[in-house]
């Protein structure tokens, strides 16, 4: 097996004396889909934001593709080959769908400093290829501000793929989506991840999505990892039931099995 894409070791962060995250360690391999779950306030977001550079960490180390990310800003971490999607989608509503991808491509090729030349003509084919990958080729000319929510999520995925990432960080990728859309998006993500050997780390509240699509699940509670393993192992773990899953009456019917 190849070297892990993401190595996290003893990651910790506290705010005003409160330990948001303490001593979290894990690795992520190429092509693996890893879910991070836990109650609200367990430190998922903090953990996530430390990985993508949005907030600094107190102690611990994060290595992406073997490179230490200490002190790097989000945009520098992106240059290492990390794609991101957001819990609440962040796209450019004043541009068309294609232009959204083109901007990311221009940035990837370090061409955004050019003061003349028509940007809309650059990297068009590549943008369309990526849109085709997420099934949005037909929507390329649409203003992004008019897209339905599920389409925005797919667009984010296409944007996340422009720099041929080796790691995808997805913060609640299916939040606010209809059940059928959730399944479709996660299947798409899984297919792309396997084909391109991308490691995917995602947080999620929808247990149906987590149990169906994750290869491995980690459970965070009060800042610490309390369990980890395959969906089946986690689902039947009594500690996880006690702090998070409960009796299983409010998610998928398979719970009874």
């Amino acid at each position: 097996m190849s070297a892990p894409i993401l190595e996290v070791e003893k990651l910790s962060k506290s705010y005003g004396g409160v330990h948001a995250v303490r001593g979290v360690s894990f690795t992520l391999a190429a092509g693996e889909i890893l879910a991070l779950i836990g109650p609200n306030g367990a430190g998922k977001s903090t953990c996530f934001n430390m990985l993508n550079g949005q907030i600094g960490r107190d102690t611990g180390s994060v290595k992406i593709l073997g490179r230490d990310t200490t002190g790097l800003r989000p945009r520098e971490i992106w240059r290492l080959g990390v794609g991101r999607t957001f819990q609440i989608t962040a796209t450019y509503p004043s541009m068309t769908v294609r232009e959204n991808v083109q901007v990311a491509l221009l940035s990837h090729h370090r061409e955004l400093g050019r003061l003349f030349g028509f940007a809309g003509a650059r990297h068009r084919a590549e943008a369309d290829r990526l849109l085709g990958l997420v099934g949005m080729r037909d929507l390329a000319e649409r203003p992004c501000g008019e897209l339905a929510y599920g389409d925005l999520k797919r667009l984010e995925l296409a944007i996340a793929l422009v720099n041929e990432p080796k790691l995808l960080l997805m913060d609640e990728p299916t939040a606010g989506m209809a059940p059928r859309e959730r399944v479709a998006l996660m299947r798409l993500t899984a297919t792309i991840a396997r084909e391109q050997s991308i490691g995917v780390l995602f947080t999620e509240h929808d247990m149906d999505v987590v149990f169906e699509h994750a290869d491995r699940i980690m459970v965070l509670n009060r800042g610490s990892l309390i369990a980890g393993g395959t969906p089946a192992e986690v689902r039947n773990n009594p500690d996880v039931k006690a702090v998070y899953l409960g009796e299983g009456s409010v998610y998928g019917g398979e719970a009874a099995a």
Binding site: S45, N52, R73, P74, R75, E76, W78, R79, R84, F86, Q87, I88, T89, A90, T91, Y92, P93, S94, M95, T96, E99, Q102, V103, A104, L106, S107, H108, E111, L112, G113, R114, L115, F116, G117, F118, A119, G120, R122, P143, C144, G145, E146, L147, A148, Y149, L152, I159, V162, N163, G176
Partner: protein, 653 residues
């Protein structure tokens, strides 16, 4: 030593009024999200009304009653303004609100001169506090000591009001999420009115309390508003305690700055503000605002470059403009040249505002610096006109590089306030540094070279430079850099996630806009043959904003149309009336009220409604409910009323 103590006490006394006004601004902003530009006007009104009342009713009760009554009268006027004007524009973009309240400021300036006359008025001394107290052998006015005590008392009173009364809790709740407060059964209409009245009361009181110390003048509104903006930028907008600390800091800096840099004491305040912003971009006690509202230029209709036909039409228009000297006289040509200069100025601001989403309230600084640069090059170094036109704008560029570096650290109203403060600082330097700039007398004798001296020749020059500049700006819009800039405007979060350095891109845009403004300014200097501090004053900046607003903020070239219409209107207006500020202010206010979503937003609504009507019947299903801004308001809704709560909560957690 003794002198320093006394100077310190004087500073503290000055801080009291500044704190009152700044806390009022902060409180109003907290709940209504409006940066009340007219706050300085209410401060000034407070002083004038107090002057009248204390002159009319003498004695102890006459004086103190007059002071309080003046603040109450002003608060009542403020409440009226809130009911009549602000209620209509709470959902409008920030920029429009700032403009509307600026329009009110303009109107008050003319009204005050109409009522009280242009002379400075000296109010009575405070009965009971006329004397001085001996401190370390030096006399300190008793009234100053009273003010020193008053500041903390008001601070404490406000704290109790906001933390120990239900009204205060409601205000704090509304500060965070006003719709939610309404959804809990609170009549927010009157909550807003009462908050606005309280804020204006504080401003009026601040003004009234000044009359025993300073003369009442019709210029005191702009000077205080700039100081207040500096205070809230340092202290943190929305924080009353921050306003207090910053008011003390700024007043002390002023008090001691006079000793250190007597000519340009404001520079010291500027340096401190710069330091604070580097360490804490949201002020000492402020907290980062989420992307509260859509920037003014955000449209969901993507821009397209011109088609071949449109280009031909534009070319025809420019060629037609080139024929003007053959059909009009010299005066008209001078006016046309001025319009060309302002078209370039407006286009540069428009670029910054719409493509960059950065509404500068001090863009005239770079215009004026360009003008001064050209004047220096001509009169001091004896440069020929072409040299001055090339070198002069560099002063504007330098200003944009320096000021822009700080400004792009902020966004939204903070950005607007900081740009305004910098412009005012530039104005102060031009006004006070008489040895170099000639102060109020300006620099004369900036005449064009002989080949460009005739009105026709200069008009052609101005037209050529202006057209070239506007074309260059348009090319930029569609260049990769233009896309990067739009990207930072649309979503800072996404931009950072795809490797775009937001502040560097915006800084570059700021400098580009400053450069073209500087070029326009240099042309303007030669057009007029002189340069005055007015060229970089606030009204000039607002002229630019109104041009952009008029032309349509969401179009690529609207500013040019706006500049033509506005400049022609303004020149005509000045020839027709003495009360040009009153009329202009009223026009601005009406414009904002009539088109709260902007002229283009208004036109879009109209078009959409017409289309919907045409669709009615068979094809109604085409308007898909999927577009409902139910789940992702920040991402999907167009202009106007994006709910402010959701993204903010994310930031807070």
């Amino acid at each position: 030593m003794e002198f320093i103590v006394v100077q310190f006490l004087t500073g503290l006394a000055s801080a009291a009024s500044l704190f009152l006004v700044a806390s009022g601004l902060s409180i109003i902003f907290g709940v209504t999200r409006i940066v009340n530009f007219a706050h300085g006007a209410f401060y000034m009104l407070g002083a004038y009304v107090a002057y009248t009342l204390t002159e009319r009713f003498e004695g102890f009760f006459g004086f103190w009653g007059g002071i309080v009554a003046a603040a109450l009268v002003v608060a009542a006027v403020g409440a009226l303004l809130e009911i009549v004007l602000l209620r209509r524009i709470y959902r409008a973009p920030e920029l429009f609100q700032l403009l509307a309240t600026f329009g009110v400021t303009l109107m008050v300036q003319d009204l005050v001169v109409m009522i009280w006359g242009p002379e400075d008025l000296v109010g009575p001394r405070a009965p009971g506090l006329r004397g001085a107290v001996d401190i370390l052998g030096l006399a300190v006015p008793t009234y100053d000591l009273f003010l020193i005590v008053l500041g903390p008392l008001v601070l404490g009173g406000l704290w109790i009001l906001f933390h120990r009364t239900r009204w205060g809790v409601l205000v704090r709740a509304a500060t965070q999420d006003r719709d939610m407060v309404a959804a809990l059964g609170v009549n927010q209409t009157w909550l807003f009115t009462s908050v606005f009245a309280l804020g204006i009361f504080l401003a009026g009181l601040g003004g009234a309390l000044q009359i025993p110390r300073n003369a009442v003048t019709h210029l005191m509104d702009l000077s205080i508003i700039v100081e207040v903006f500096v205070v809230v930028v340092i202290g943190g907008l929305g924080s009353v305690l921050g306003a207090f600390i910053a008011a003390v800091l700024v007043s002390e800096l002023n008090a001691f700055g006079i000793l250190i840099f007597p000519k340009i004491s404001i520079v010291l305040v500027f340096l401190v503000m710069a330091c604070v912003l580097i360490v804490r971009p949201w002020g000492l006690l402020g907290r980062p605002e989420g992307p509260a509202r859509q920037p003014a230029g955000l449209s969901i209709r993507p821009w397209q470059p011109m088609s071949q036909n449109q280009r031909l039409v534009m070319l025809a228009v420019v060629v037609a403009a080139g024929f003007a000297p053959f059909v009009t006289g010299d005066y008209a040509l001078t006016v046309l040249a001025e319009i060309a200069v302002f078209a370039l100025f407006a286009a540069s601001l428009h670029f910054l505002m719409t493509v960059g989403g950065l509404a500068s309230f001090g863009h005239a600084a770079y215009f004026g610096l360009g003008a001064y640069g050209a004047a220096f090059a001509t009169t001091m170094f004896g440069m020929p006109m072409i040299g001055s036109l090339l070198l002069g704008p560099l002063l504007g560029v330098a200003g944009a590089i320096l000021f822009g570096w700080f400004c792009v650290r902020l966004s939204g109203v903070y950005f607007a306030m900081l740009t305004l403060a910098f412009a005012q600082i530039a104005w102060s330097v031009a006004f006070q540094w008489v040895e170099v700039t000639g102060g109020d007398n300006g620099i004369l004798g900036v005449w064009p070279a002989s080949w460009a001296a005739s009105p026709a020749a200069f008009y052609w020059l101005a037209l050529a430079v202006s057209v070239a500049g506007i074309v260059a700006l348009r090319v930029l819009v569609f260049s990769p850099f233009g896309y990067a800039l739009r990207a930072t405007r649309d979503s800072a979060l996404r931009s950072e996630a795809i490797g775009i350095d937001r502040s560097r891109v915006q800084w570059a845009a700021f400098v580009i806009a400053g450069t073209f403004a500087g070029i326009a300014g240099a042309l303007f200097a030669f057009l007029k043959g002189s340069v005055f501090p007015d060229n970089l004053a606030i009204p000039m900046s607002v002229d630019g904003l109104v041009m952009v607003l008029l032309g349509g903020i969401e179009t690529v070239s609207g500013a040019v149309v706006g500049a033509i219409v506005y400049k022609a209107l303004a020149i005509w207006l000045v020839s027709q009336t003495d009360l040009s500020k009153l009329v202009l202010g009223a026009i601005i206010v009406l414009l904002v009220v009539a088109f709260p979503k902007g002229i283009v937003g208004f036109a879009e609504d109209l078009l959409a409604r017409r289309r919907a009507k045409a669709d009615d019947g068979g094809a109604a299903a085409r308007t898909t409910p999927a577009k409902a801004p139910a789940k992702a308001p920040a991402a999907t809704s167009g202009s106007g009323a994006a709910p402010i709560a959701a993204p903010k909560m994310e930031a807070a957690r």
